[in-house]
Symmetry: C2
Subunit: 596 residues, 2 copies
């Protein structure tokens, strides 16, 4: 089984040639983020991911986490790898400089995160959730809270979690039962049970900072009565170091389909000391800071498993000899041809390639938006970046994980029977990837968020801001010598996107169920069109290089062929989603519960 290698050339293509990250850094006055520095970070990140984390991926799955009397042990090597990650400053890359961070832009952090998470997704969750926790404290904490916790979370000395779900509620957080009772000293006593807490307990860091949703005794019912609390495993002492043990404990860890090296904990809080963060009853707002962060990260999970699976599948398809090419023997000296000669094997590999590289372009585009939202001096640009992020986040989360799962399933299929055997690693990619469509808001919830809140909730404004951009691109390229036909195809779909939305909006005024009935197909339609846009952007960039006589013709030609494949072989699915959602809610709502 080949281990993951960061696809640096593909990454650089998107960073440099499609979106020009460097120009952004310059515009934002990030002079220290020089091309040399970026190059060095990418090279070192690739090494760390490939040499330290990738070798722990399968052993981590085999060994899993163990719990003994509330103490969770992570698989062999995980702790040491984490220490190396902290020591070498990977954890603090994008953290604020005032707390020991390096202040590097989020876009660069996301690229490094792609490497880390592709090499070993389960491992990457430990630092990944910490980043979300730190972001929430940075956005909503008091100065004291920031000083205390960010100085530990930023370098990675402590890690963090988010504790939302309870046994009887996940999506519907208004139902939570965890209680927070105010104390005389301004703190709170937190009591309740949280489940599915990723990295809720482990042996990798000296302390764990839980962000916990709970209700005050007199809180209003539903989501308007939820507050957020910082509940550390060890209470900070006077020097801000881990002090007294708080009364919370990991009751058990779940036995799961995959990401077995990531401890998924049941956390029992029993009069644990907590500190309010943000305003009373505004906990959900604070939590959304974490959740948006986590949703983009979860979207990346689709790409990460898809890429790792693709790399193994390509290697296998070049090695495995089986049958002859119908066009005549490709390796006449061998007993059979490598299976990469067969068109149906190529269909599977190209589907993976098209989704992975398209998803990477989508992800890096949002990464650049994160930079803009943070650094731009122009308020309108910042606001535009925030709006685009709001619009693209559910697409990233759901479309990238749906297509990522399809990619890993195909990567397993390329291996035939060997794909089903644990030793080859492909089945782990499928098992690990499967969770991405479920957690951080199921993909169905993302679809409702996209269509209900973001698109219809903004009276179409967020969608139009994006389709306008696509339209502009199409206008600019309508006369393209080789890609003009595809530009026309994209422009047509882009127009349909708006029309569809208007139609659903009209129907929803008659029947509110129409939104939920259309949402998942709308999300998938949106994803296919969005990826078509980014694929065409990549194709235009590749054609430019070819026209300029690039010495890397094979690389750029592959981009053009993959774009062609995407448009001809995958994009037709957009129409199937359109037709399905246009059918409306009727056939969905007719059956009584008993008729199922």
């Amino acid at each position: 089984m080949p281990e993951y290698k960061a696809p640096l050339r593909d990454m650089r293509f998107v960073m440099d040639e499609v979106f020009d990250f460097a120009a952004g850094y310059e515009a934002f006055g990030l002079d220290e983020v020089s091309p040399d520095l970026v190059g060095a970070i990418l090279e070192e990140g690739a090494k760390f991911a490939g040499e330290v984390l990738a070798p722990l991926n399968r052993t981590g799955d085999e060994e899993g986490c163990h719990i003994d009397n509330g103490v969770v042990t992570t698989p062999k090597g995980f702790k040491e790898a984490y220490q190396q990650y902290v020591d070498n400053g990977w954890g603090s890359m994008t953290g604020p400089t005032e707390y020991g961070g390096q202040g590097l832009p989020a876009s660069l952090g996301l690229v490094i995160n792609e490497m880390v998470a592709s090499a070993n997704y389960a491992w990457s969750m430990y630092p990944g959730l910490s980043h979300g926790c730190a972001a929430a404290i940075r956005a909503h904490g008091t100065q004291e809270q920031k000083d205390l916790y960010l100085s530990k979370l930023t370098p990675g000395t402590w890690t963090g979690t988010m504790c939302l779900t309870e046994p009887h509620c996940g999506t519907d957080l208004g139902l939570i039962k965890t209680r927070a009772v105010p104390q005389a000293d301004g703190s709170y006593k937190i009591t309740g049970t949280k489940i599915f807490i990723s990295c809720g307990e482990h042996d990798m860091a000296e302390n764990i900072v839980h962000l916990v949703l709970a209700k005050l005794p007199d809180a209003p019912a539903g989501t308007k009565g939820i507050s957020l609390f910082i509940v550390p495993k060890f209470l900070p002492d006077a020097n801000g170091e881990s002090g007294e043990r708080n009364s919370l404990v990991c009751g058990s860890i779940e036995h799961k389909m995959g990401i077995k090296a990531s401890a998924t904990c049941v956390m029992n809080f029993d009069d644990a000391t907590g500190f309010l963060i943000g305003d009373i009853n505004k906990g959900l707002n604070c939590m959304f800071t974490m959740m948006n962060h986590a949703r983009l990260g979860t979207g990346m999970q689709g790409l990460c498993h898809g890429e790792a699976s693709y790399q193994s599948a390509v290697t296998y398809a070049k090695d495995r000899l089986q049958m002859r090419s119908l066009s005549g023997p490709a390796a006449p000296e061998k007993p059979a041809d490598p299976i990469i000669v067969h068109p149906d094997v190529r269909r599977m590999l190209l589907t993976m390639k098209a989704f992975n590289e398209g998803n990477r372009a989508l992800a890096y585009y949002t990464a650049q938006l994160l930079d803009k939202a943070h650094y731009s001096k122009d308020e309108a640009e910042r606001a535009d970046a925030e709006s685009q992020l709001a619009f693209l986040t559910p697409i990233c989360k759901a479309f990238m994980t749906e297509t990522g799962l399809e990619a890993t399933i195909l990567g397993q299929q390329v291996f035939g029977g060997h794909g089903y055997i644990r030793e080859w690693g492909q089945e782990q990619q499928v098992r690990d990837c499967r969770i991405a469509g479920i957690y951080e808001g199921t993909n169905g919830i993302q679809a409702l968020d996209l269509l209900g809140r973001k698109v219809l909730g903004s009276q179409g404004k967020l969608l139009m801001a994006f389709t306008k951009q696509v339209h502009k691109f199409c206008q600019a390229n309508e006369g393209h010598a080789t890609l003009g036909g595809y530009v026309k195809q994209l422009n047509g779909l882009n127009a349909q996107w708006g029309e569809l939305t208007t139609k659903i909006g009209m129907k929803a005024m008659q029947n509110r169920e129409e939104v939920g009935a259309a949402s998942m197909d709308f999300l998938m339609f949106s994803g296919y069109v969005t990826l078509a846009f980014f694929w065409l952007k990549m194709a235009v960039a590749a054609q430019q290089q070819l026209d300029a006589g690039s010495t890397e013709a094979a690389f750029y030609e592959a981009k053009l062929v993959t774009q062609e494949f995407y448009f001809k072989r995958l994009l037709p699915r957009a129409s199937a989603h359109k037709e399905a959602l246009e059918a409306g809610a009727d056939s969905l709502m007719k059956l009584s519960a008993e008729q199922f």
Copy 2:
């Protein structure tokens, strides 16, 4: 976690009201297969599946199989359940009466097999493979071989396997290295290693009969030099009982993604004694008897996991309270509504329901063809049934397993985070189901078989025989008062099916890669149209009952709604597959291996 219950009403609907199994039994002179007998068998089968096998499904997965010095132990309870299966005559149902079988028709066997395999797929593989082995011996063995082995395999006293795959070849059996050296007594010495041998070694029966593909020393190269051998674990003694141990051993068992309770063995044959079955160098022909049997069985696997997953998902969706219906509270007395009120949850359940019930109709139709091919006194009818089976087998195998996997993934999704946790059982359905698209010829190979061998290889004859039937049905129902619109839609797709095939055939004359480039999308297109045909047959039958004033209106209305859902929400995918395959081989074949 609710355990599987055979959906008897749905099964009877297809058996009695859509295809009229009883009329077939009468026509074939199977007087003993009375409605009373059928009813009793179904009731008892449902009990055995639900009460004996289903409770062993999850424990079997947790425990798995173990090997110690060549001895394989199956999970607790498996052996006892097998004994009960044998004692109660389930194994011998369809076996020949001269060898202790009950001579019941294959159609009834398939229905019982659906129950058994839905309750516990891994367990069902032990008897399942035996049936294939017995079928091959019955078709190709000498009288002596039949007397010897069928008298043990038919009641299930011994079990059987098929040993094809070797480490370096699965699809490409021409490459096998296992050798068969003729001995003076007419037997052969078999030496070689076979892998992925399902149920190759276990503790459930007193002997195991391996059917092994091997090459004689002077055999021609490739598939024309393969012979088939009976290689029993214990050589039969003079009385036909298990005698001396043969020199073959299970070297190891695989660690797999799923079907963990089914022992997947590496079998080492070391000068093992084997007996030629069928003619020298005609082994593949003999093996195809087993493989066609196994392919239909594997297609059923898609339905079985889909159905088991659906039952759990519906129960969960009625129990789990989360959010309010947008149309107003459905359960105002509870803290939230059951999630079955939400349109997107219904979309998932209906997708499962539509695939499961459509696939069941397809499967039962082929079951009736099995009866026709075996019992019909009319040679033309027998030949027609054989042709239709040849045509439908790859569709059953691949389409039912692709859509079955989609169904199990949706059934997991309905559970949210709980779907990812082992204890709920839904993730096991996904892991177990995943193998069905891979083994017994990957789905890509089925697609080549359908388009290359069956459709184009018969100059379209096999396809036309089926599309003619669909066309006739459409003509007969074009004026249907309520379903006329769907009839027109089906008729249009049916016409496209033929046109598409002609186009591919023309292109393939220019470029042989066009077949492989089109095959998988062609298979999926074929599957969607085939299911549309069967759904419409079901809808017509349901409407008839409603028109006649049935007292089961809710049941029949659910059929009509599911048919509507299938046509409006799932069938549009057929067009996406059509568009994709019409794009041809170009974008698939352009890249060199290095460009991947």
